[in-house]
């Protein structure tokens, strides 16, 4: 599976395929484009990636999630190019025998993708301006571009 897609993500199609006779819990996350950010009206987003690295790194994150939790299914796809309001920019699907693991793994995967995988968004606003945005700024806290503060860790505190 290619984890980076220039075509619209087929979120419902991916969900429809995500069944497993040993999986009692399916969790799906879809990150969709909002019409506003930080008080400004958003027209659309444009995503760019280092595709080969993003693909490999996403696959590695899914593998690590499978090592940590007993997952029957672990799928992730991120969109590139122009993504309109309400469209999906990223989808993560996890399935496991019980629900705790499916939720935890899903959160782990999306948090790591957002912090680590070389994908960038440019916000285009309705006033015609644009802004490269929402960068992971964990280096401000950790002092190291390779050290992140993950939301899934913060939840445990």
């Amino acid at each position: 599976m290619n984890h980076i897609s220039a075509e619209p993500l087929d979120v419902v199609g991916l969900l429809a395929q995500s069944h497993h006779p040993q999986a009692g819990a399916i969790v799906l996350f879809s990150g969709e484009v909002r019409d506003n950010n930080m008080g400004r009206q958003v027209a659309y987003l444009d995503y760019e990636s280092h595709e080969s690295m993003a693909n490999k790194m996403t696959a590695a994150i899914l593998e690590e999630a499978k090592q940590k939790w007993p997952l029957n299914i672990a799928v992730a796809q991120h969109r590139t190019g122009k993504v309109g309001i309400g469209e999906s920019a990223v989808v993560v699907i996890t399935a496991s025998p019980h629900r705790g693991e499916a939720y935890a793994a899903n959160r782990y995967i999306i948090d790591r993708i957002k912090h680590e995988v070389p994908i960038w968004k440019c916000e285009y606003f309705t006033d015609g301006t644009r802004k490269w945005g929402g960068n992971c700024n964990c280096h401000d806290i950790t002092g190291d571009a390779n050290q992140h503060v993950y939301e899934f860790d913060e939840l445990k505190k």
């Binding site: 760019e48 280092h50 957002k114 995988v117 994908i119 960038w120 280096h139």
Partner: protein, 77 residues
């Protein structure tokens, strides 16, 4: 060597360009690029560098034949 930049760095550099002359390691490359375009210095400080799809450290020795990718902090999702 060949340099590829992404995202906000494209406001300072061509997406892909040749850098002539010797560049010893990643730290030197970062200096060369900052000197070339001082507005990019802050951004470059927080970027990671990759060769052959692998991140490389500051003291990674560069070869004339390398293609170096300059990777800003992620902002996917």
């Amino acid at each position: 060597m060949k340099v590829q930049v992404f995202a906000a760095l494209k406001d300072y550099f061509d997406k892909e360009f040749e850098l002539a002359g010797e560049v010893q390691d990643v730290a030197s490359l970062k200096e060369r690029l900052s000197a070339l375009n001082p507005g990019s210095r802050n951004m470059l400080q927080i970027c990671r560098f990759a060769v052959g799809d692998e991140f490389v450290p500051q003291d990674f020795q560069l070869k004339e034949s390398d293609t170096v990718c300059v990777i800003p902090p992620s902002s996917g999702g």
